[in-house]
Amino acid sequence: MKKTWLLVISFVSLIILTGCGNSKEETITAVGSSAVQPLTEAAGEKYSELNKDSYINVQGGGTGTGLSQIQSGAVDIGNSDLFAEQKKGIDADKLVGYQICVVGIVPIVNKELNVDNLSLSQLRKIFSGEITNWKEVGGPDLAITVVNRANGSGTRSVFENSVMNNIETKSSQEQDSSGMVRQIISNTPGSISYVALPYLNSDAKALTIDHKAATPKNIINNDWKIWAYEHMYTQKNANKLTKDFVKYILSDEVQNDIVKKMKYIPMKDMKYQKDINGHVTPIKR
């Protein structure tokens, strides 16, 4: 009989423990693009400080995960580097999208390499496999190791849309996260890849394109062409906390502080806009 009691007690305690989180605290989950993850995390922490009973649970997983999870209603916010319409299998009409900031993507190379600048067409030719040695672009006689992001990654899509001009990238090494890309670039002589600006650090060297650097100023004026909107998608009938959190991220308080500090560009600063097909037009004010 003792054992039966043990069983009953463990079951009951299991149920009680599962129910624990349901006290007053409210939690929402944001999942998706790793390019916007640092921003969501930082904003989530601040938001929780301001609103004691709210907690924002932030996870990565990639743009595809973000969009498919929000579509199935498994999470409250899906982060994406792409417009939902651009992703196969996503019914964008069922979602509500917010553009929360702009992120620049920058080609990076190994620090030892004495190449600092490429033209856009040189960059394209490197990723399409037409140029395979650094000496063809004025560098040392060293084979180019192209490191790509996984097929379907948001960052890769943005890079391809802005750089490749519908020319196919050659099959090459692929990595599934920006951090891993950065580490490989810092260890491998002659390697080239690309990361979102917030992920750029001293491990790798950023290239200029046509002698323009990936600075916020150049992105704002569209002198730096490789940029995209970061999106947050919610269900149509999102709960109050979700709506409130998105509103908080869009507020000047976050946009002018965390967004800028983390090397994203606030929406309001942009002087150009990009539509879903990649056409860029000046914003009239």
Partner: protein, 305 residues
């Protein structure tokens, strides 16, 4: 009279207990069986989708080398050729096993025949330690030590089948070793005594008697090592380079079935072709591990005859 009848027909406390025990263990067993069956059913139903819905030829799937779910061929079927991954998976598996087996068998011989005392004191704990190290740690060491080493010694970027082989070698070594030890320990003592009695040296006893008698067990150990190598995902993914290209040599970036799965899961949407294609790879992995398991069963059966 009635009293006795009641006593005989009513269930006693201990028979009730036995009944309860039976029900509980039946219940648990059923859950496990149902779980396994539904798991296989789920993976299979998802995995055959690209063949049924998208009409991909199963032969093309196994022999073509272009993997791109977004692009279609002239007949509108998605280009899904898994050959690079299949070659990569088998490549690292076989190479790692070939390198690891001599070491493992030698260690097993040392432990059972040559110096059991030292073996138990030093070798056993070391092997157990190797088993306990999480695969991400192996992968991390692989990226920061093995890959640069391969690059320095053989050129290229360092990422590729060779780096994957080295990492897997260390990972499957303890598996094969500990199972080989069990296999050699199971060889009856009187075999050795008989060999010594007819005047065989220790080496003759080991090579002609112990290894022969233990052969089925050793094969089982090797197959288990292969299964482990085939299914390893994280560590291999970190060092193999993940390029969906047919490997040209051992130091060009390649990919395995598992590495493609872990790389791309997050970037596909449930229900799309690219997602279903990943399920097909998962199904292939499942079938392979079933094959490994039946191989082990088959060897064990042969061994007892």
């Amino acid at each position: 009279m009635d009293n006795i009848k009641a006593k005989l027909t009513v269930k006693s406390k201990s028979s009730k207990r036995e009944m309860n025990g039976k029900i509980i263990s039946m219940f648990c067993t059923t859950i496990i069986v149902v779980l396994v069956i539904s798991l296989i059913g789920f993976i299979a139903s998802k995995g055959i989708a690209i063949f049924v819905v998208d009409k991909v030829n199963i032969f093309d799937f196994l022999t073509h080398s272009v993997w791109s779910a977004d692009k279609t061929d002239s007949q509108g079927r998605p280009l899904l050729g898994a050959l690079p991954m299949i070659v990569g998976s088998f490549g690292v598996t076989f190479l790692a096993t070939i390198i690891a087996t001599p070491f493992a068998v030698a260690a097993a011989i040392f432990m059972t025949e040559i110096s059991p005392k030292l073996g138990n004191k030093v070798l056993q704990p070391v092997i157990e330690l190797l088993v306990g190290i999480p695969s991400v740690v192996y992968g991390f060491i692989g990226v920061s030590v093995v890959v640069p080493l391969v690059r320095k010694m053989f050129g290229g970027s360092g990422f590729g089948i060779l780096a994957g082989t080295f990492v897997l070698f260390v990972m499957i070594l303890p598996t094969i070793t500990s199972m080989s030890i069990d296999a050699l320990k199971a060889v009856p003592r009187h075999y050795r005594e008989a060999a010594l009695a007819v005047g065989a040296t220790r080496w003759q006893t080991i090579s002609r008697v112990v290894l022969k008698a233990g052969a089925p067990g050793l094969f089982t150990a090797v197959v288990f090592g292969m299964a482990r190598a085939f299914g390893e995902a994280l560590a291999v993914q970190m060092v193999i380079g993940n390029a969906m290209l047919l490997p040209q040599n051992l130091i060009s970036p390649a990919s395995t079935l598992t590495s493609v799965l872990t790389m791309n899961m997050g970037n596909t949407v449930m229900g799309t072709t690219s997602n279903n294609a990943l399920w097909s790879l998962a199904l292939l992995l499942l079938l392979m591990s079933l094959l490994f398991n039946s191989l082990v069963k088959f060897i064990a059966k042969k061994g007892t005859l």
